[in-house]
Symmetry: C2
Subunit: 408 residues, 2 copies
């Protein structure tokens, strides 16, 4: 596996575009990803009971298991809490993209992110769709424009491309992805959107299963503020442009492909946390030696979600008590009296608890470790063989400021 | 039901004391509550897997169902993550109190709150116990001293006493309580402690059941920062000093008694939120017309726990999207398209959503309502007959400051 240049454009058979349609004042706000042949599609969506119109629409499209040709994404307006009109608008968007691209509406998925409770400015959206369809091409610039057009208050573009050789098939396939993170949208709602495309040939049901498990270990293991949005969406397309033969689960090739796919998910998820609102530190909580994977994940996730842990790291405080406390209420099984807890960064490493008992430590040494921007918390549980990591950020004044400001 | 003066001292047959033992620098740090006769006892403790030594100890004592005579509480040190030594110290505390009061150790419950991972200064604790036992009396001053001695960074004392006439028995009984809230302890851990005493005669199993359901509707419906401590403890004692005849579940008298008991729990719970760290606003989320009580509670609790809702209220922002979003991921059942959402305060009331659809509102009018210190969010769900409230506070710069400061 090695990284490739050009983001989405590294993948064969996919064109993309990112343009300004006028939903936002000046920034790009409409992205299009188009496959030049039918692609197997898979999606994972928010579990929130309040679901934005495009989420409802995409679920419906994907239920058929039929191939997909394009994904249309607008930023600046989430098309959420917009009632019947919203559902209608989502399907009109898909129809317009299909018509501009010479496809049928059922081959187009749509996503929206931005302010909620406000109907989409459909005249601008529709004219933007025509512009985007005309602009779509396979080039690093167009790929970058698409990655930009899905952003809201993100401070940087999140894209990645990885090449992987499949020795059994004797071909190289590419997996690429873009994502947007948990910036508040005109402060209303944090939304996670990610799109992963590949030129490998994968059956829709295999892609869905791979995406599901990949999201569990990546996007579902990050938290900026513990809130789950109404628009969260991760979509994968596999078009087989690199090789028309299917990569089949259970083979060595599939394992290699899945590793690349997971690496793309994990990279995008970590980038989202790195760009978390007001974040000054990137925190990884790693659980080693849990009895089950589910235990390891529950424990890791609770640590990076705890406000008390997050504020402690903002304050550069080696507060092992809050970490152990969060593990305690996580629902994950472990024996507190067996935990070895370590913090580390590129400035060093320090054992805080040995078998659940505090180890006297040098505050100055701890501060040196915690002054770094990236901190790793490792808990060795001694219960079994399962490991898991979760990624989060600290909780800063800036977070409160960004999210507490009166809507303007 | 009517309120009574004197806090714990309003209850017959109970003496109390609050003294400075030297665990903290200057403030009172040791409280004692003593019944002059055997009292039925009940307890509800933290569900955290990491449990402080006194929690482990009290669970053990209460398992027997035998009567209890005294509760000893120290602040300034949580006796948590203190290993075998901690368990031994908890039982030595109980023995010392028993010896000073002429009781057996199994008649004494103990609680601790404060810094964790540090062994108790047992010499000071033991000499303090003798002082407290000698000082214990039934007086408003002693009751107030006990209420003070359990506090950590709380900014005010939390106490209440209610009298209730039981017409069937022809007597008046009193229920009183004290609590400490979610101040960070030398910033280490938020702990909730509450003690409710009554001179009614109640069987231990009935008291346990009443306490359990009362905690569900009060202490379990508040959140300051969503973290569950290792030391959370609510204990109830009923000594029958007002009337030796049992109040029996199923009777009108028991219903009246339970109402007073619930009112004491609810008052103490709300006071804890009001004293939440850095809180500038007190927020009640009320769900009306849910299908089940469990749904109503999940929905209400998610709203007041959401960081996004909390920061919005800090910013005096009528952000109905965040409220609806939190309800959506709460796990409670409701139909978003049926929700009527209202915010109100003593400055007025305003409908934000009618049947799930945003109602255009006047921002100036909304700001007038949200400028107040106490805000009520009401969601009418139209699903059934069940209602529930949860209580929380906003998330302010001050919260981050208090919890992010480097331990000193």
């Amino acid at each position: 596996m090695k990284s490739a240049e050009g983001g989405l454009s590294a993948v064969q058979g996919f064109a993309s575009a990112g343009i300004h349609a006028g939903i936002k004042k000046a920034k790009k706000d409409l992205a299009l990803i188009v496959s030049n042949r039918p692609a197997a599609a898979a999606g994972v969506f928010t579990t929130n009971r309040v679901q934005a119109a495009p989420v409802v629409y995409d679920r419906q499209v994907l239920k058929s298991g039929a191939p997909v040709r394009a994904i249309l994404v607008n930023s600046g307006n989430a098309n959420a809490c917009t009632g019947e009109q919203g559902i209608k608008d989502a399907s009109v968007m898909a129809e317009a993209a299909a018509s501009a691209l010479g496809l049928s509406a059922s081959e187009v998925l749509v996503s929206s992110t931005g302010v909620i409770g406000v109907p989409l400015p459909m005249d601008r959206v529709l004219s933007g769709i025509r512009t985007a369809a005309a602009a779509a091409e396979r080039s690093p610039a167009a790929a970058r424009a698409a990655a930009e057009a899905i952003l809201t208050t993100d401070t940087f573009v999140k894209e990645i491309a990885l090449e992987v050789q499949l020795p059994q098939a004797g071909v190289t396939v590419t997996v690429a992805g873009i994502a947007k993170g948990s910036g508040m949208i005109h402060p209303n709602m944090a939304t996670l959107l990610a799109y992963i495309i590949t030129d490998a040939q994968v059956a829709a049901e295999d892609l869905q299963q791979l995406l599901g498990s990949s999201v569990q270990a990546s996007f579902n293991m990050i938290s900026v503020d513990g809130d789950t949005s109404t628009n969260d969406t991760v979509i994968a397309l596999a078009n087989g442009a690199a090789d028309a033969r299917r990569v089949v689960p259970g083979t060595g090739d599939f394992r290699l492909f899945a590793e690349a796919f997971d690496a793309v998910s994990r990279h995008l998820a970590r980038e989202i946390v790195r760009d978390g609102e007001g974040a000054t530190k990137f925190i990884e909580a790693r659980m080693e030696g849990a009895r089950t994977l589910e235990d390891a994940r529950l424990l890791a996730k609770a640590v990076i979600t705890s406000n008390l842990v997050k504020t402690a790291f903002f304050g550069e405080d080696a507060n092992w008590g809050r970490i152990l406390c969060a593990m305690g209420y996580s629902g994950g099984a472990f024996s507190p009296e067996q935990v070895d807890l370590t913090i580390s960064s590129r400035s060093g490493s320090m054992l805080l608890l040995r078998e659940g008992t505090p180890v006297p430590f040098d505050e100055a040494e701890a501060l040196k470790i915690l002054k770094e921007k990236e901190i790793l918390i490792t808990a060795a549980l001694g219960e079994g063989e399962q490991n898991a990591s979760a990624w989060g950020c600290d909780l800063s004044y800036e977070y409160v400021k960004i999210n507490g400001e009166y809507r303007t």
